[in-house]
């Protein structure tokens, strides 16, 4: 029983981080209809920004998160404004291909600049944990979980309560109508892609704190983020949180009770099942 509780706690904490990883992908996918295959590479870049701020500038890794978000926002804004806006009306293959091209270039440059070694962000308090009714909770993971939920709530507020958020949602619903009401889509699209990249940057920083990083982690993280978006649906940031928690818990249950090599079978098998039974996601609206 205690083992089960511990496994559930681990899974939920991991799931919060997963949710933040997928959040940026879901935002970009839902609004721009681009599945960004470079999303995992953005996460990787965010992790390295935090890593270098921590090792070279001795910043606290959690304090380095806003810097990573800002840098990734600029990168995302520039990529959408300069390149992706040029092909936004091309067929779906083309947007998949071009973001794959970004992924190749970013991963290659990262490997040159950062080297292929494994790195980890290890602050002094990395080993600290609390024990609640027998369940051990590492504080760093708990903090990462809290940051992930906080950013999700912030995104939800931004989308629902601000002028910019309304413009983003308007572009997602009807581009022509949004234009008629004075929304400048080139800017809004770039802003949305930038926000997606910033969220990836934050997720990367947290990932670097709880796990190890190298330049090649991007692809697997993109695939995982996909799975979460599908399970949670794209309409609502909190759906993505549910998807992330679900996947985190399923993965830790399978690795303990079935075997670590089956963790991916479980998560992707569930993904296929969800797609077949409910193509709009577990929480998505049926059309």
């Amino acid at each position: 029983m205690l083992l089960l509780l511990q496994v559930l706690a681990n899974g939920a904490l991991l799931g919060g981080l997963y949710a933040l990883m997928a959040l940026g992908l879901a935002l970009v996918w839902g609004v721009l209809n681009i599945v960004n295959l470079a999303h995992g590479a953005f996460i990787m870049l965010g992790a390295y920004v935090c890593y270098y701020l921590f090792t070279l500038a001795h910043m606290d890794p959690f304090a380095a998160l806003p810097v990573a978000m800002l840098l990734l926002f600029c990168l995302g804004y520039a990529l959408q404004r300069g390149v992706l806006n040029l092909i936004i009306r091309a067929p779906m293959f083309n947007t998949l291909l071009i973001t794959f091209g970004f992924e190749v270039v970013i991963t290659f440059l990262a490997q040159i600049v950062f080297s292929a070694d494994f790195r980890a962000i290890n602050p002094d308090y990395a080993g600290a944990n609390v024990t609640l009714t027998g369940v051990t909770v590492p504080l760093v993971r708990l903090a990462a979980f809290a940051v992930a939920l906080g950013l999700t709530a912030a995104l939800s507020l931004l989308l629902n309560r601000t002028r910019v958020g309304r413009a983003i949602r308007a572009c997602a619903q009807d581009l022509v109508a949004a234009r008629l009401h004075g929304v400048e889509p080139r800017h809004i699209y770039a802003l949305t892609f930038g926000l997606g990249a910033a969220l990836a940057g934050a997720a990367g920083g947290l990932y670097g704190i709880v796990s190890q990083i190298n330049p090649y982690i991007g692809g697997a993280l993109t695939a995982k983020s996909f799975a979460i978006c599908i399970i949670g649906g794209l309409e609502n940031p909190f759906g993505v949180v549910v998807g992330g928690l679900f996947l985190g818990i399923v993965e830790s249950l399978t690795s303990v009770y079935v075997g670590a090599t089956y963790a991916d079978v479980a998560s992707f098998g569930i993904l296929v099942l969800v797609l077949i039974v409910r193509p709009t996601g577990l929480l998505g609206r049926t059309t």
Partner: protein, 316 residues
Amino acid sequence: MKRLAAWGAAAVAAMALALVPCIGSPTLVQFGISTLLLATLAQAWNIIGGFAGYASFGNSVFYGLGSYGTAIAMLRMGWPFGVGLALGAALAVVFAVAIGMPVLRLRGHYFAIATLALAEVMIAIVSNLDIAGRNIGLVLPLLRGDTMFYELSLGLLVLTTLTVLWLSGSRLGFGLIAIRESEDAAAVVGVNTTAYKVCAFALAAFFSALAGGIHAYWITFIDPASAFDISLNVKMIIMAVFGGPGSILGPVIGALLLASISELLATEVSTAASLFFGFIIVIAVVFMPRGLADVARRLPQLRWRYFGDNVRTHRL
């Protein structure tokens, strides 16, 4: 007339390619085998991706099933290579039909991701199967015969291309194009969309599996991560889209051209090869989004305006 000339040129090119092992160096022949197999994969992807418009990331699963089917037949049953190939292909076709029924109901990105997930699942399942050597993989008997493998790969590519040629003029092909342009409209005019899509999926599976089987015996070693490699699937898509999805010769030319470029880059500027490759993809998508086939059709008329035109039609 023009069409006839194009096919004459293609036939001459195929014959010239068949002579490469007689005159080329061993390295060239080896490069040729892997490139011809890649071109076959791109052409097979063209059937489901280019004609039916379904962005499949599951073709590497068919390739992997072909590799493992061949390897298991040869190692565990002691059957000859040809029977192994047939077993691998049959396995892939059965899988394509069984999985195609539910998965082909999904559209757009959802189909792409469901097939992507299938590839992940297959890696994990095969890594846990005793008969498939778990995650260590299988070692096939060594056969020194690059010329044989080369001619086999070329034959497979020609067969696949001829099938696509037949498809482009057949009822099935027109049905698939109708599905690509508008699936609902196709269903309304009486196309049995499910049957057509499953057919296209099974055809793609058949040729991909044969390529996988040939590759497995040639390279003599397979393991789950390389046999079901998703980046191989991404390569097929890039090559087919670069050449022109839905055209007959486009995917083949795209594959030969891109493989040569990346091989040249790898020898000339080894460290930066993937960087250039990434840039080529980005530039090609922006300036020639419908592939080489479309460039060949419209560039002579439009000249340099062609590239500007593409950007103007697709930008925000």
